[in-house]
């Protein structure tokens, strides 16, 4: 999602090489970073689906039981509401489990969901290490570190995105704020935060999984029950992160998406390279 006008790489750099058409590309993502990026999709999907199946066994967020149905789970309420309000779901057999039937591996399969969760967890942790190694040997970590000086740019980007709906509706033009860096400050903050969230999701997971042997870790998150709440909201964070992430990569174009597969991009800002060429 590099910002600004693309600079197509077919520029001739020196006269000597002018005879042959050449393409200029920049390396964007190390191979290990790319692999771990895409593996996150099946792993997070598996973790979330099995996680909600585990949640079903003992929902964290409960209300006093409904006097007629005895129901105390907000997800069950949501399922009942959906089946009552969507015409073709009026005759759905098990409205209280609608959310679990559609947003998890299914209700009443705790043993399987736990094993599936462990499988995805160990692979997710391994994947996190692969990502860190890729960031280090590809030197991509510098582009991801947020800086205090980013604050202004973050606000600029937020204002840009918030005013976009109006700009589009009013058929006006708005210039994308320009930055010289690989990522704009908002991207940098988002990617850094999602990496930290991945770490916290693993840490809270262990705090729930081993509250006796790792009691110090459980204490950091405010005890067993609070660690479960943390773990839940971190899942929500991943789900929310994905929406703008996918929308913006599509909006930014094929080159940005391809760079996460091939590793290089043909779209980059000239000033990113200027001190080598001037």
């Amino acid at each position: 999602m590099s910002s600004g006008r693309p600079s197509r790489g077919e520029t001739m750099t020196t006269g000597a090489r002018a005879s042959k058409p050449r393409a200029l590309v920049v390396r964007r993502h190390h191979l290990l970073v790319r692999i771990s990026h895409w593996l996150n999709i099946p792993l997070l999907l598996g973790l979330i689906l099995s996680g909600i199946s585990i949640y079903w066994a003992s929902p964290i967020f409960q209300h006093p039981p409904n006097p007629t149905t005895g129901n105390f789970d907000y997800f069950a309420d949501a399922g009942i509401w959906i089946c009552a309000h969507i015409p073709w779901l009026h005759h759905y057999a098990d409205p209280a489990n609608w959310v679990y039937n559609h947003g998890s591996l299914g209700p009443s399969m705790l043993a399987f969901a736990l094993r599936f969760h462990w499988l995805c967890t160990y692979l997710f942790m391994l994947n996190g290490l692969v990502y860190l190694v890729g960031l280090c040997i590809g030197a991509g970590w510098r582009s991801l570190l947020p800086r205090l000086s980013d604050a202004r740019g973050v606000l600029q980007m937020v204002r840009h995105y918030l005013s976009l709906p109006y700009v589009i509706l009013a058929r006006r033009r708005q210039i994308h704020p320009s930055f010289w860096t690989k990522y704009n400050p908002l991207q940098r903050l988002a990617y850094f935060t999602v990496a930290i969230a991945g770490f916290l999701a693993v840490a809270t997971g262990w705090a729930i999984h081993k509250p006796a042997q790792l009691s110090w870790l459980t204490a950091i998150f405010g005890g067993f029950d609070n660690a479960r709440v943390w773990h839940f909201w971190l899942m929500v964070f991943f789900m929310v992160f994905v929406i703008p992430h996918v929308v913006l990569v599509i909006a930014d174009g094929w080159d940005t998406l391809c760079s996460m597969v091939t590793g290089w991009a043909i779209k980059f800002r000239r000033p990113e390279v200027s001190d080598h060429e001037l």
Binding site: V25, R27, F112, R147, G153, A212, H276
Partner: protein
């Protein structure tokens, strides 16, 4: 001074050089464009897309093969009525790895957190089936097998209470489902029973059974758990006789239950009627139903 190119950091050039050096390490480097032949770009793309597609298909196939058959049928990916063993190899490996890690994390010297009386929470009756009729309590006996003496010992609750020191502890019982409860338990240490009636020398495991356990319809459904002797010897592993200072009620396993707070609740068997020590790992009620055999938390 390549990092000077990064617009926002130009201001920092006036700062002391030490800070500048520090910033230099963290500063983003300018990108270095490489010249490539345009045709190579296309070839790379095709190769990468092929590899990418193959990787995605492999991931889907491996992940999908581990899903239970009912789920695949629901998704329309498997024919209904197909039989034969399901492929659980990866899932079993993950569970074994997790159990090995839990075993490695376990330490007899690490005490689980204890709480004050004001932190005690409500403890629900979580008998998996029906709660047994309390009629078994007056005639209850605890049978010990697999002892070094070669004898089978039968004990009553008065004898156990009279012979052993009673310890109090307020600990958290964590259920595999995700809920937990803090309760005040009292009882004798499992380790004291092991000292009084030593198991056979090669024993590594204890099989704890409850013959009074019932299924949901009220039919006999003996419950049994495996406990490794290292866990049994932990100072906080109790054979609990009291809850909140009163003798255990029937719904919490009168007159004697296991309280191993470093294990999930499902290992904390109620109304123990028999303990046998074994060399090999004994069966476990919930392991047969797809849960971990170790259940250390």
């Amino acid at each position: 001074m390549s990092f000077k190119k990064i617009g926002a950091e130009e201001k920092s050039s006036k700062r002391p050089s030490l800070l500048k050096k520090f910033q230099g390490v963290f500063s983003e480097r300018p990108v270095e464009p490489i010249e490539v032949e345009p045709s190579i770009l296309r070839r790379w793309t095709r190769r990468d897309l092929l590899l990418f597609g193959a990787g995605a298909l492999a991931t889907l196939a491996v992940g999908g093969s581990q899903l239970p058959r009912e789920l695949l049928q629901q998704l329309g990916l498997a024919e209904s009525g197909t039989t034969g063993p399901e492929n659980k190899w990866l899932l079993n490996q993950a569970l074994r790895l997790d159990d090995n890690l839990a075993t490695a994390l376990y330490s007899q010297h690490h005490l689980v957190p204890t709480y004050s009386k004001s932190q005690i929470t409500l403890l629900k009756n979580n008998y998996n089936g029906a709660t047994p009729d309390p009629g078994y309590i007056p005639g209850w006996r605890l049978t010990l097998g697999g002892l070094s003496s070669g004898w089978t010992v039968s004990l009553d609750i008065e004898g156990l209470l009279a012979r052993h020191q009673i310890h109090d502890q307020i600990t958290r019982l964590v259920c595999v489902e995700g809920w937990s409860a803090i309760a005040w338990w009292s009882g004798l240490r499992f380790d004291d029973l092991l000292q009084a009636y030593p198991p056979v020398s090669q024993a590594k495991w204890a099989l704890l059974e409850s013959s009074v356990n019932l299924d949901a319809n009220g039919n006999p459904d003996p419950y049994f758990v495996s406990i490794d002797l290292l866990t049994a010897q932990h100072p906080q592993t109790l054979l609990a006789t009291h809850l909140n200072g009163k003798p255990l009620p029937v719904e919490h396993g009168a007159p004697l239950r296991l309280l191993a707070p470093m294990k999930l609740g499902l290992k904390n068997i109620k109304a123990i009627t028999r303990i046998s020590y074994t060399k090999d790992e004994p069966p476990d009620y919930w392991e047969k139903r797809g849960y971990s055999a170790y259940d250390g938390i």
